[in-house]
């Protein structure tokens, strides 16, 4: 354990901070009676699920609360001897950017899309009235871009944000935040929108910069893997209150508070268990599946279009009771494969054999009986339920289309809601009355209403908080075993894949680069890409502690 530091050494100390919410909100305070210190040269991680108030506390520091509805109602934020709660807006503006820097989750929206990168960095200097000549500013900008590890800083400086990749944009954001050598960097979920390999690079960059500049970093995240990767100290927040704080080692391996224990116990472990190979009947076989987007036909100006190969020569096989994981980064074509199998997209060529019959050549009418047996669970629980229809109508839509009498399908819907852990009164309510996790359960019930044999889960748990995610995964596993389903599990999260999949196919740029039993892929990866993916998983060296037997909330 590191030496005990007193508040005197802290560069930022927050004392009894409360941020009040408008009267009609679900709770009176977004942040309630929160106190913590940030010391130079440390990374402080604030973790919590969505709505825990973790972003609100950092926004209060930056003076970025959506006033007047949300405002600091009591407490102090002491930075360099001044209370940031009571100082004037113009004084705050001076501190913001120059003394405290901030980076955001979505690098595309945080950068001005119609301004070149160099101009935007230049603005930082101009808005803080630094007396620098044009030449000095230019040199400085190039140095900054170089510092955040961007290749060819001169070229990057002359680019517009849309010409850069997500990781490059986030690097530009970091360069901007650090331009004036701030004492503190606040990073609000800066890697959540990025792919795992890019995330690893950005995390390393933040950690390196923090060391060389001796900054204090407040890193807000919901991902315990990220915490394990970079945190020195950890604060766990829930419903606007701090439930636990301590060193990373303490909180991650010996959590005290039951809520922290619950959160950590739901983090999927990286070590994939060895599983018995599945030898039952094959449900679906995919052979040489090709799918391209766009066309290379010349248009009337004689200009050829761009063709993207979303899937190239895909071969898969899923057996009864087997879960096949399809993993890869964004743009790897993993969702496309799932959607081609269920014929939401038309594929260019290839064969999808479902129970021995090629379904890609069937007409719509011939496809109807097959549709009952292949169902899908979608990623976004908010967009996948029709907001204008009652849950009962949503779940019974499929059976109704297939001519099952309303009374019968309604009765089945009640049973299904019971299976997914919801009350039958939910049938008469609308989707907006449910939380994200509950909606995902409804989505699962809808898929099951058709008594499927193959279930395609397209990033089905990616949009959910970690504790809810664990519950939904458990539910999926239970259902799979009970109904002996074949499941295609499309995900970008290797931790989740390790826990639920029997076999894994790793996709890169539309091709399967590695395909085999989960245990083998995780413990003895063959392909370079698989190795780099596995190496990029945040907190991979952290063995999630076994908390069974301890009190969990």
């Amino acid at each position: 354990m590191s030496e005990v530091k007193s508040s005197k050494d802290a560069i930022l100390s927050i004392k009894n901070l409360s941020v009040s919410l408008p009267p009609r909100a679900d709770r009176p305070f977004a942040v309630e009676d929160v106190s913590f210190d940030v010391f130079p040269g440390e990374i402080l991680c604030i973790v919590g699920e969505s709505g825990s108030g973790k972003s609100m506390s950092s926004n209060a520091v930056m003076g970025l609360l959506p006033k007047p509805h949300v405002h600091v109602s009591s407490g102090e934020i002491i930075f360099e001897g001044k209370d940031l709660v009571s100082i004037s807006d113009s004084a705050m503006q001076e501190i913001r950017g120059s003394r405290i820097g901030m980076i955001f989750q979505e690098p595309m929206t945080a950068l001005n899309p119609v301004m070149k990168v160099r101009k935007q960095l230049q603005e930082v200097f101009e808005s803080h009235h630094l007396k620098l000549s044009k030449k000095q500013v230019k040199a400085k900008i190039i140095e900054m871009l170089d510092d955040v590890g961007l290749p060819d800083p001169e070229i990057i400086g002359e680019s517009y944000p849309f010409e850069l990749s997500g990781g490059q944009r986030q690097r530009v954001m970091i360069a901007m935040a650090l331009a004036l050598q701030p004492k503190i960097l606040i990073a609000d979920e800066p890697t959540t929108a990025l792919d795992v390999t890019t995330q690893a690079q950005i995390l390393k960059l933040v950690a390196d910069l923090q060391k060389t500049r001796d900054m204090g970093v407040i890193f807000i995240t919901h991902d315990f893997g990220v915490v394990a990767e970079i945190a020195d100290r950890v604060i766990v927040m829930r419903m606007g209150k701090i439930v636990e704080q301590g060193t990373a080692e303490q909180v991650l391996n010996r959590p005290e508070h039951p809520y922290t224990r619950k959160l950590i116990s739901t983090v999927p472990n990286m070590g994939a268990p060895k599983r018995e190979p599945v030898t039952s009947d094959v449900v679906v076989t995919v052979k040489n599946l090709f799918k391209t987007y766009g066309s290379d036909k010349k248009n009337w100006l004689g200009k050829a279009g761009r063709v993207v190969h979303a899937s190239k020569d895909i071969n898969l096989e899923i057996r009864k009771g087997e879960t096949l994981g399809l993993v890869g980064e964004s743009g790897s074509g993993k969702s496309t494969v799932g959607r081609c199998i269920i014929r939401l997209h038309d594929s260019n060529s290839g064969v999808v054999e479902f129970e021995g019959k090629d379904i890609l050549t069937l007409t719509d009418a011939e496809m109807m009986p097959v549709r009952q047996h292949i169902q899908m669970i979608f990623q976004d629980p908010y967009a996948s339920l029709n907001p204008r229809r009652k849950i009962g109508d949503i779940i019974t839509e499929g059976p109704t289309i297939h001519g099952i009498p309303k009374a019968q399908s309604w009765k089945k819907a009640e049973e299904l809601l019971d299976i997914v852990g919801l009350d039958k009164f939910a049938l008469k309510r609308y989707p907006h009355e449910f939380s994200g996790g509950q909606r995902q359960r409804i989505g699962i019930a809808r898929a099951l209403a058709m008594s499927p044999k193959l279930l395609i889960a397209d990033e089905a748990v990616s949009a959910l908080d970690v504790s809810v995610q664990a519950q939904v995964l458990e539910l999926l596993d239970e259902i799979k075993n009970k109904m002996d389903l074949a499941m295609l599990f499309v995900t970008h999260d290797l931790r989740v894949a390790a826990q639920v999949c029997d076999n894994i196919a790793v996709m890169k740029l539309g091709e399967i680069v590695e395909y085999g039993p989960t245990y083998d892929v995780f413990h003895n990866p063959q392909h370079e890409y698989t190795k780099s993916l596995l190496a990029a998983v945040p907190g991979k060296d952290w063995e999630v502690p076994d908390l069974s037997g301890q009190s969990i909330e």
Binding site: A383, L385, N386, P387, I401, K428, G443, M450
Partner: protein, 303 residues
């Protein structure tokens, strides 16, 4: 029986809650509230025209030609708004005229909504040739100045109130088609539609049960706004002699009849002119209020 009553209870209260929140949002907007009051008065006039109007709108009182309104020298309480050049009571004509305004608005909007929504949905669901045909046709209609287009159509169909309404409807249809198509396209990208497709839902089912209800909010707002434009255009056509024909007490036609007396008896134009102005204004204010209440995306910031 009692079980059904219990089941209906939360349903009803949920509907009440929705209406209550809608009313709360709507009332926030002062202009919309006053607009609604004005429209309510006008609606009552239109419905009860037979009972509240003092005279018949087409009966000519030869002994009282061009009588000024009561607040001008020479006016009498017998004809509060005065009489026109043929001795017809202006107040009665105004009251009966409100009927025609609503009649025009409702018919035009009904035609626009049914045709526009159908074409918009068809265009959204059939990308490619059909979509191109529909949308280019709409572009062509939009390329003409709307009043000119309506005039040309009436000239072909022959001047009458019904033909004027058809012509106005044709002019407004493209707005509804575009709005429906854009809204439907954004809904089509959502996964609840994909989900229905995986169930094997037919195109009609996707269109009317899944997509259309989610497109209604902006359409309702567009309908209200077009309601006022339709009244305005009908008045313009009437003024040009291409709409309602004499002796129909339509406000635009009344304006046209009064045109030659604008120097000597300005109230004859002033009264129907102001009536059109306030009607259109209040409908637009109501439209703003509806938009705030129904479509949070387009909401203007109040802080």
């Amino acid at each position: 029986m009692s079980g059904e009553a219990i089941n209906n209870q939360p349903k009803q209260s949920a509907l009440m809650a929705v209406l209550a929140s809608f009313w709360f949002e709507f009332r926030q907007n002062r202009g919309a509230f006053y607009g609604l009051i004005f429209m309510s008065i006008l609606l009552i006039c239109a419905f009860l025209a037979d009972f509240i109007s003092p005279y018949s709108p087409i009966e000519q009182y030869r002994d009282a030609l061009k009588l000024p309104p009561v607040w001008v020298d020479g006016g009498t309480w017998a004809h509060i708004f005065g009489t026109d050049a043929l001795g017809r009571d202006m107040l009665s004509r105004m009251i009966y005229g409100s009927r025609f305004s609503f009649y025009i608005g409702v018919i035009v909007i009904c035609i626009c909504l049914t045709v526009g929504v159908m074409l918009g949905l068809i265009a959204a669901f059939n990308k490619g040739f059909i979509e191109n045909c529909i949308m280019r046709l709409m572009d062509i209609i939009l390329a003409f100045p709307s009043l000119l287009m309506a005039l040309a159509l009436v000239a072909i169909l022959g001047p009458s109130l019904l033909n004027a309404m058809i012509a106005i409807a044709v002019v407004y249809i493209p707005h509804f088609v575009r709005l429906t198509r854009a809204q439907a396209l954004s809904e089509l990208g959502k996964d609840y539609v994909s989900s229905s497709k995986t169930m094997g839902a037919s195109q009609a089912r996707l269109m009317f049960i899944n997509v259309l209800p989610n497109c209604m909010a902006p359409l309702i707002v567009q309908a209200t706004m077009s309601f006022s434009s339709a009244i305005l255009d009908a008045a313009a056509l009437g003024f040009l002699g291409m709409g309602a024909q004499a002796p129909t007490p339509e406000w635009g036609t009344m304006l046209a009849d009064a045109r030659q007396y604008i120097q000597s008896d300005p109230w004859m134009m002033g009264i129907p002119g102001l009536a059109i102005l306030f009607t259109v204004l209040s409908i637009n204010l109501i439209g703003d209020g509806l938009r705030d209440a129904l479509d949070p995306k387009m909401k203007t910031s109040k802080t």
